[in-house]
Amino acid sequence: MVILGEVRTSLLHNSLPLPRDAVADLLSLRPGRQVTATDRPINRTVSPETVIGVDCAIASEPRVRARGIGTVAAHAVVVGGLVAQASARVRLEWTADRERKPWAHYARRRGVVEVLGGVTAEQVLAGYHRPGRQADTMDLGAVCQRLLTQVQGRPQLDHRTGLRTRPTSLRWTAVAREDERPSVRLHIDDEVQRTLQVVVPPDLLGEAARFCEDLALHDWLYTALGNVVGQAERDMAIGADPMGVLNAALSLLVRLWMPGAHVDLALRPLWQELETTPGFTESWDRQVAWMRDQVSMRTLSALQEARH
């Protein structure tokens, strides 16, 4: 069993973190459907699932003729009233059918795409992780981007941000394997694109999406903080005041760092692997400490100057 997914993460276009009820309102994207929210340790609100139909080629490597028919499931997530994510996924199921069935067959299986043709799971995984998208193949990125644009354009937001950050995109696959320890492989392709491969036991396949969303969030936070440090250093090099950007980052981003807090217990060991290499939290803590040092040193010298 194989799941293909993509998560796009960006700062919510609002000057302040959005309160809990406003977030629920923001993510009420389908009339009558409920938004789900957890408040501890930090608010994480998820929109109702949106579903769209697809019938197209499936990317593979080497390229084999394969057709996918079914539905893509997607939802939007807001964490801490501050970070917006759009997450789309399909679970692939191989079928011996040669033709498309009546739509009801696909419509009642949300987020399942049936694969027609002689392509193997390995070929599909290799095709999905290739940089760039093969023409006319399934486009989860576009589904995410439309959803994110929809959320970011909603009237509940004031469309101003207190921090300059870049959206990131994480393309992931999860494979179910019996009798195998959960494992994870994260690859940073470039400034905005990441690739993630997860292996989990079959009963935990459904939880993989949430782990990937959590990882995408933290990777984005890590990237955003790295950019803040870079900008502060540039500011200091030219004698400009870095306090504004440091304060904004410290007050907005730091409290969101909670790797694995919303992930199923059984999948938290995956985080442990990432904590060993590249050592996410250790590195994050060091950056935060550096930022706090800068702020306190500057506050101190400002106080001393004021006394003279």
């Binding site: 009558g32 957890t38 697809v54 197209c56 949300r110 006319d136 399934m138």
Partner: protein, 338 residues
């Protein structure tokens, strides 16, 4: 037991479970009359109910056979066509209708209003259902473009390529037939109009008003009878008892009125509709609509669990739970007499 089965910490809104509705085994719709028929004299109503009565008995028997020893829970209902004709008087129509039904041996447990399928107790049921639409993707749909929605049309396959209105210098699009997906050898392609948006002027203000089509409201009607609709997890269009005289306006009645005392629940695992054959095409359209919905999976799962707990066999596909009996329409006997 693993740690997954006994969560240490849970929150109220983390996993909203939809509220349950009481379910019969079967909801039977005992005929349907256009408002013109209801206004067209007692004889038309009587003719239809006389034709419905033996089929109602047959449907009850069929349900008993299906359940094998278990006492069937069956409720009956009748839908009033007040969405397209709100200008009629329930205080005249309802008593006459109920008297004739009783005279023909048909007890109507619930009377429902078609306008209630548009909006029931201020819950916009039609809009909620429209938000569940999951149209067929034409071959080649990758997700790159937004799905074509809001056209107000839904089909069961792929439309014939557009060959009209092309510019003089543009190459002609080769004609190809429309195709039904999942067809058996040959296509029976159906394209259903779900709604029509009209610009109306009310008190000098122009606004767009959506007029829902009869098949679309009939699809909502099936969903309500099958107990599949919720609004923010809450049941909708729940039957309300009515005592006293009938009002002059349909809008003063609840969406679903409970008529009999202690009837079996209004919603049911399955529905059967005994209708004049003139409704065949509408019900075909209803089937297409129901086959193109992204239903609330929590409600679907809940219904399946309850059926299993009762030891009932319940088809996974919603439209397989919907049965019809088509009877001779009211007019044809009169026509033959001529």
């Amino acid at each position: 037991m693993s740690s997954l089965d006994t969560p240490v910490y849970t929150e109220a809104t983390a996993k909203p479970e939809p509220r349950q509705v009481a379910l019969s085994h079967l909801s039977v719709e005992v005929g349907h009359l256009y408002m013109e028929d209801l206004l067209g004299g007692e004889e038309r109503i009587r003719t239809q109910f006389r034709r419905v009565a033996p089929w109602l008995t047959a449907v009850r028997q069929a349900q008993a056979v299906e359940l094998g020893g278990v006492k069937p829970r069956i409720s009956t209902c009748f839908l009033i066509d007040d969405y397209f004709r709100p200008d009629t008087d329930p205080s005249v129509i309802v008593p006459q209708l109920l008297d004739i039904a009783a005279e023909c041996g048909i007890q109507i447990d619930y009377l429902a209003r078609e306008a209630g399928c548009h909006e029931a107790e201020r819950v916009p049921l039609a809009e909620v259902t429209a938000a569940m639409l999951l149209p067929e993707p034409p071959v080649g749909t990758t997700g790159s473009r937004p799905p074509v929605q809001d056209s107000g049309w839904l089909c069961n396959g792929e439309r014939s390529p557009d060959n009209t209105g092309r510019q003089a210098m543009m190459p002609a699009v080769a004609w190809a037939p429309a195709e039904e997906f999942g067809k058996r050898n040959h296509s029976i392609f159906l394209d259903v109009e779900l709604w029509k948006d009209q610009t109306v002027t009310v008190d000098g203000v122009r606004r767009v008003e959506r007029k829902w089509s009869c098949p679309f409201l009939a699809a909502v009607w099936q969903l309500v009878r099958l107990g599949q609709l919720r609004y923010a997890g809450e049941p909708v269009a729940q039957p309300q008892p009515w005592s006293g005289s009938w009002p002059r306006h349909w809008r003063d009645l609840p969406a679903v009125v409970q008529l009999s005392e202690r009837p079996q629940p209004f919603s049911a695992y399955r529905t059967a509709s005994i209708l004049p054959k003139t409704y065949l095409k509408i019900e075909h359209a209803v089937t297409v609509i129901l086959d193109h919905l992204d239903l609330d999976d929590a409600v679907v799962a809940q219904t399946a669990r309850r059926a299993e707990a009762e030891g009932l066999r319940l088809p996974a596909q919603l439209t397989d739970r919907v049965a019809h009996v088509f009877i001779e329409p009211a007019e044809s006997r009169a026509e033959r007499a001529w």
